[in-house]
Symmetry: C2
Subunit: 243 residues, 2 copies
């Protein structure tokens, strides 16, 4: 892991850009940390520059609670090399949505499964590197979409102790099956009127999770309209489980 | 309104039993209130003595946030005179549930509609009396089941500014229609595995509410298993809207 830039934000949070092999990312650590900080991995739908304002807001909120936070660029997004197959699947999805047609499961599989297969080992490699830093300790939480990546991580990565998942993307049938194997505490956010989201599928997915402690918070509004208080509820969830 | 008993709880909260005409109730006011306190009406499924431990816990939590809280015995419950028609409807409902049969809409109507018709004016009369006390101010919130009573109150009683509703009882079709007329901020609690509750009906009801700000919090467990943190979230909701 190589740090490529470093700046203090006005609230004292230290923001460092890094690369790990070909993966670019950002690490935020709290202004004053006496002990190694617990860590929250911030997932997002891809496009680190475009997503930066929302990511830094989530990182500041995490830092205020004593958590470090880190994100990486999603495979095939932002400045990372495109995959022709993924671009094709994305175009097929867009075409179906614009035509108002039901989205074929095969298209969802073609788009999401390779993403999960690539992104999860990347998160795990980044986690290895982050946990070797003296200022980062455990436990570790995952927060965000792409929800399928969160599901797989929760199943295969025992260092992740709790997850806040954003129900707002298409989920392959196979990931519903994996969801039954998830046992860590979950806090699921659903935007009730999310235009790009199938509400019933999101409720079915919530039902499928094997976790004994799982909470669904549904709020009004579209994909990016998560209210401030819902973010605070999510931060409190990590406060209960990562300390 | 006649106070019939008065005691200080160990946290300084003042608990007073009262009667208003034939309606018995309990009022809790915070230990130290410099200004008239906002008020939360605590709804419950009937049986004030049986429900007391849970009600006093909710009242203490409210008082800690600076709210007064009040509850009344539900019409036809506890020591109040029974209605033969309501008892018959309750028996019909129980018989259907025990036989594992679908519950007839007509039975739900027969059980719930007269309850709503009686309980809502009672709450309004109690609200008149409570708001005339110098230690009680506005705004006013309603918290609890019977959710149909909460729906009607939210529609007809303009002094209620926000409501926490427990989705855990049968709701007549007519109340779904009234739900569309509700416009105040709502915080709806759903126990995902509530044995006596139709989950899909609860989700449909949440969808029906006309409120621009409405939040659904679903947690695992049965009817009485609402986790401590869910109660705290509900208290914060009132903190945002009643101050």
């Amino acid at each position: 892991m190589r740090f490529t830039s470093e700046q203090r934000l006005d609230d004292g949070v230290l923001e460092r850009e890094f690369t790990l092999g070909e993966i670019p990312g950002i690490l935020w650590t709290p202004a004053s940390a006496s002990a190694p900080a617990p860590l929250i991995l911030l997932g997002h739908p891809g496009g680190l520059h475009k997503m930066y304002p929302r990511l830094v807001a989530r990182a500041r909120q995490s830092a205020a609670e004593g958590f470090a936070a880190a994100t990486i660029e999603l495979t095939g997004s932002g400045d990372r090399p495109r995959s022709a197959a993924a671009e094709q699947a994305r175009a097929d999805l867009r075409r179906a949505l614009e035509a108002g047609e039901p989205v074929d499961e095969e298209v969802v599989d073609r788009l999401v499964l390779p993403l999960v297969d690539k992104a999860v080992p990347e998160w795990q490699a980044v986690l290895d590197a982050l946990l070797s830093l003296p200022e980062i300790g455990g436990p570790v939480g995952y927060s965000g979409g792409v929800i399928s990546i969160g599901i797989r991580l929760a199943v295969v990565e025992p260092r992740i102790s709790a997850a806040v998942l954003f129900a707002g993307s298409f989920v392959p049938r196979a990931l519903f099956e994996e969801a039954r194997q998830v046992t860590i505490p979950l806090h699921v956010l659903l935007q009730w009127d999310d235009e790009g989201n199938d509400r019933q599928a999101a409720l079915d997915l919530f039902d499928a999770f094997g976790s004994k402690e799982k909470t669904l918070h549904a709020n009004m509004g579209g994909h990016t309209g998560v209210p401030q208080f819902a973010g605070e509820d999510a931060a409190r969830f990590f406060g209960r489980h990562l300390k």
